[in-house]
Amino acid sequence: MSVSVAFWVLASIAVLAALSVVLVRDVFRAALSLILCFLMVAGLYITLSADFLAAVQILIYVGAISVLIILAIMLTREVQRGSPSNRFRLPAFFVAVLFFAGIGYAMLNTPWQISSTPPLEPTTPAIAGLLFGPGGFILPVEIAPLLLLAAIIGAIVLVREK
């Protein structure tokens, strides 16, 4: 009962925040709405008993990614008036509607399986076992840092003085 109340509060604020990201003219306020949306999604993870994921969501999305977005905004001109719309306005609207319809159709027509086992408590040992244990996902875990390393080296090469 209380979980479903929490879900509806979090979900409605998340949707409103996401809408205001798109509709608000002031780019800085749009970034702040995006942060609110990230926080609400973290709350949704908590209602799903995914506490580790919620903390990581706040740490990475609120603490790091939104700070980078805000830093990028600082380098933008005309922040208050936002980005004026151009001739791609209508095509972009149609693409967005099509995407929304596709996602909505897929979500409503998927036979979601609901697990009958209670959620794991505590979650961290299970996650660690899956990531690093035998028969786990150690290969993707190793590939991701390699990709990040390549990106870092690429960034250094791009900004290095000749």
């Binding site: 800085f28 506490d51 580790f52 706040i58 740490l59 609120v62 805000i70 505590p122 979650t123 961290t124």
Partner: protein, 362 residues
Amino acid sequence: MAMQMLPPNWPGNFWAHWAIFAVVILVFVLLMVMFFIWLERRAMAVMQARLGPNRAGPFGLFQPAADALKILIKEDIIPARSDKLVHWLAPVVAFVPAVLVFAVVPFWGGALLADLNIGILYVVAISSVTIVGIFMAGWSSNNKYSTLGAMRQVASVVSYEIPVVLSLVGVILLAGSLSMQQIVAAQDIPFILLQPLGFLLFFTGALAEINRAPFDLTEADSELVAGYMTEYSGMKFGLFFLAEYAEALAISAIVTTVFLGGWRGPLLPPWLWFVGKVVIVFFVIVWIRTTVPRLRIDQLMALAWKFLLPLALLNLLITAAEILFWPAVSLWVLIPINFAVMIVLVLLWSRLFKLGWGKVEV
């Protein structure tokens, strides 16, 4: 050391537990912040051969209360071309995370709001939200000093977050858990002895994250007036001030819990041990403030990326190797080894910051 533990849902009911600890945490934070303001002013005065506040009450103890009253009745000025909504929200966004951290800090065995199994990760995640409030303040004030202060703060937090988290991983490896309760329970030997390098890196990085001196570039008075809070007055300024001291209190509480054994100690009641250790850690912070001069912005970045980050990685590697290869060895043996490792690494790395490996006189 006997482990006196309270049941997890003390006093029995979920909501009663929640309400009692919410009130306890708020009262604890407000009282300790007022005490800290007094302690900082008096201790700094003694160290600088001054008197400090000594008129309001015995030893000037009521000075923070008098200041709080004064700040409450002051006029609230909002800059003319500022973003009013964001300007109004910023102090709240900066203050709330500083208080939320205390939800997982154990004051006693079992006496904490929520024993999350991700405790220390929660602390790191929540305290990273404060930066958003500071940035909102800097941007919405429509003042170049505010924006510059906020930019500096963002740069330092983004850089110092990494060594801070990495230096905590060593402790997590030793304790085998992320839960603050378990970390305290694992400290038969306080982790400051087993992780001296980790403690040093965490303390330095944490001071930079809450921009205490010598890392207080964001509010360097001689360059930036008051940094991001230049345009704030009245209670909104008070809230930022409160948030800053609440963060210092949070860092003291986390250092106490993670490195100094938390509420554990002989003879005295556990809560007294906890509060005593917190006050000692805060006193060291004040001591550092009066001793070390402020860094330049390039020195700030260099310290994070060239000194703290590689040392934090090495510390993690050494700790992991010790746990992997000598699981049976007594922890007492590791203490001298880890202290030797710390001294050698710090001396080696600090030579990198001197011209020509220390051979050239500047």
